[in-house]
């Protein structure tokens, strides 16, 4: 006679196992060291120029995936093989728990630690910003960058964990480190879709990370248990992750302009324009910080102050505050500042607009691709003949180019304000 199945007290979920492991790990020297190091990195990069928290949050986000990304790869690779190295696996896998649940719980526990350490980096940056500015205005910008950086870290960590676990060596995780190094060094020759920390790519890479963990659970179970039935959520997670990643990637590729993956006719039209004195300023249709399509014709009858800047060049960020001053002082007289952000990361505009609490439109030039020559970086940059950032164009009330200002003098002196005053006196309301 077949015996009855054993009575269970109730199986703990992978999450409760992970919670236990994470709580235990929070007290370890390794985690505390990582959190303190991350906090110090945040302190080091967080004190940036700028009225609000935008530049500080941006710098923290960059440091997070540039520096902390490599730490995460090593951390996850080591953690994936820790049980084999410690010989705790012989105890773990003779307990009445599915292999996939243990693997998933272990991954989630480390991920929780990584997300907390990453939060420490952003807290460090916020502290540095507060110490240098005496204000925490625009704090939401940190949340935006934390989201993007954490998404990238999730993918990097999941891929490193899966590779190290399935091969049994942490060296395999270094392949992910190589990918990260390549993504950092090769922005000029890699399509934007390959960079996991760009806000528009985060859903794709998070979904890929989930798929990596699903695959790790699946194949590690086969390795340990043979071809036995795996829990339903493993194939579901894998298929869902891959499906979401592919779907999001397709959407991104269809709606992006990238010389390496696909160009958009609309942006080609923008490139066909040129900046000529007394002629209309090159037009565009780009999303602003709220995602609303924005074009110059919407500001008919106003004096436009169009500034092109890039978060990759921190010195140009100061132009945003100058535009805010212009908006406050001369907005009532019909002066309309518009900032054009030359960034491959579509999340940059929201970060800076929220961080600097900007009241005027900041539009995202989604045609931007990193290039050694800034004129080649986007069709619009080409149309505006940008050789130096920031570049500011002042138009009359009929959108005709009346003044062109370039370089850091725009933000340092009174040149910009004088140009606006001159235009106002020549072209009163």
């Amino acid at each position: 006679m077949e015996p009855e199945a054993s009575v269970s007290y109730g199986q703990p979920s992978a999450l409760s196992l992970a919670g236990f492991e994470a709580r235990s790990a929070l007290r370890t020297t390794a985690f505390r060291s990582a959190a303190v190091a991350a906090f110090l990195v945040g302190l080091a990069v967080g004190a940036q120029e700028g009225h609000g928290a935008g530049p500080s949050a941006w710098a923290a986000g960059e440091a997070s995936w540039h520096i902390f990304g490599f730490i995460v790869v090593v951390w996850m690779s080591m953690a994936a093989v820790a049980d084999q190295a410690l010989r705790t696996d012989v105890l773990l896998y003779t307990k009445p728990q599915p292999t996939e649940r243990i693997v998933a719980a272990k991954f989630m526990a480390i991920l929780m630690q990584i997300l907390l350490a990453n939060a420490a980096l952003f807290v460090g940056a916020a502290c540095a910003h507060y110490a240098s500015h005496g204000s925490l205005a625009g704090l939401w910008a940190y949340a935006l960058r934390y989201w993007a950086a954490s998404g990238a870290l999730l993918f990097l960590g999941a891929a490193a964990y899966a590779l190290a676990l399935l091969t049994g060596t942490p060296l395999a995780g270094s392949a992910v480190g190589l990918f990260l190094a390549l993504a950092l060094a090769g922005r000029s020759f890699l399509a934007k879709a390959y960079i996991p920390a760009y806000t528009q790519n985060v859903p794709t890479y998070m979904a890929l990370g989930l798929a990596c963990i699903g695959i790790a659970c699946w194949f590690y179970r086969i390795g340990r248990r043979g071809k036995t039935r795996v829990a339903w959520y493993v194939p579901a997670l894998t298929i869902l992750g891959l499906g979401l990643a592919i779907a999001n990637l397709k959407v991104q590729l269809a709606h992006t302009h990238d010389p390496l993956s696909g160009e958009q006719p609309a942006l080609d039209l923008m490139e066909a324009q040129n900046i000529v004195p007394d002629n209309p300023a090159p037009g565009f249709l780009l999303p602003d910080q709220y995602g609303r399509p924005t074009q110059l014709s919407a500001f008919a009858g106003r004096i436009l102050v169009i500034a092109l800047w890039s978060p990759a060049d921190p010195d140009t960020v100061a132009v945003l505050d100058r535009l805010q001053q212009i908006a406050q002082r001369y907005g009532a007289q019909g002066v309309q500042p518009i900032a054009i952000c030359l960034s491959e990361d579509v999340g940059a505009v929201a970060t800076f607009a929220q961080g600097e609490m900007l009241s005027y439109p900041v539009v995202e030039d989604w045609g931007t691709h990193h290039a050694p020559d800034i004129m080649d970086s986007s069709p619009l940059a080409n149309a505006y003949q940008v050789t130096v950032l920031p570049k500011v164009v002042v138009t009359d009330r009929r959108r005709r180019v009346k003044a062109v200002l370039t370089g850091l003098d725009v933000t340092a002196g009174t040149m910009l304000e004088e140009a606006v005053k001159a235009r106002l006196s020549a072209d009163p309301q």
């Binding site: 703990p12 007290r27 896998y93 003779t94 307990k95 009445p96």
Partner: protein, 308 residues
Amino acid sequence: MAVSNPQGSQAATSTQVVIEKLRKEYEGGVVGLHEVSLTIPAGVFALLGPNGAGKSTLMSILATILEPTSGTARVCGFDVRRQKHEVRSILGYLPQDFGLYPALTTYETLDYVGLLYNLSDPVVRRRQIEEVIERVNLGEFRNRRVGELSGGMRQRVGLAQALLNFPKLLIVDEPTAGLDPAERIRIRSLLAELGGERVIILSTHLIEDVQAVADRVAVLHEGRIRFEGTVPEMLARVEGRVWELVVQPQELAALRDRYLETGLRREDGRIQIRLVADHVEHPNAKPADPVLEDAYLWLMNGGSANGA
């Protein structure tokens, strides 16, 4: 220890392990086990044998971490191939080479293992942890990090984690290896106490461990069972075949050539040698009481070592 585990009491139809024609062939054709058949009742069952005899292979199959090539093994009625989850629910396993998380305290380690045993109710888990901590005498080390414990203490933690679900089958592989004599005796005594309603399979190189705690013994050699029975039955195999004689050093080589040597002692320049054979042709040969070591070596030698 009170056996109060509903997992065990409902799962088991009979507290025994039944192994039938179990074979394990590794890649490359190396055979770890040759159609081994055994019935292991409740009590302490010792597995004896040299390295490579197949002890670890057999235990790994019973612990569900190794798939047999053919044959069956049932633990309290549950098939180790098809009902792994059920077997694991009533299994306590202490491998020879195992690790613990050094950053966790003894209590935290057991708390985590409790979760792995599906003891999700914190009250039940706490009660069972307290019980095993008391049983293995780890009370004063409950809040000490495992990384700070001595080898013997870690072994006790290992035993505690294996006992946490009050297993119907406890497999312990070389539990006293590398321990100092006092700790070895402590672990041995604990195993002796634990035998009774559960099956304890003890693998060891140490004959004295077997003599101290085992109810039954199996001797494995090159993947085959050479003997299976009680300790007195094993001793009976060499009853009347054990001899002691005092000899000159120059006689040793000739005696070793003809008979199976199981011991040697030097006394005042003379040598007392212990031999196992049906008959020893030497004027000094006197019959001696057999010990388990004599029986083990005799079985290892094919059970027929006699040059006479």
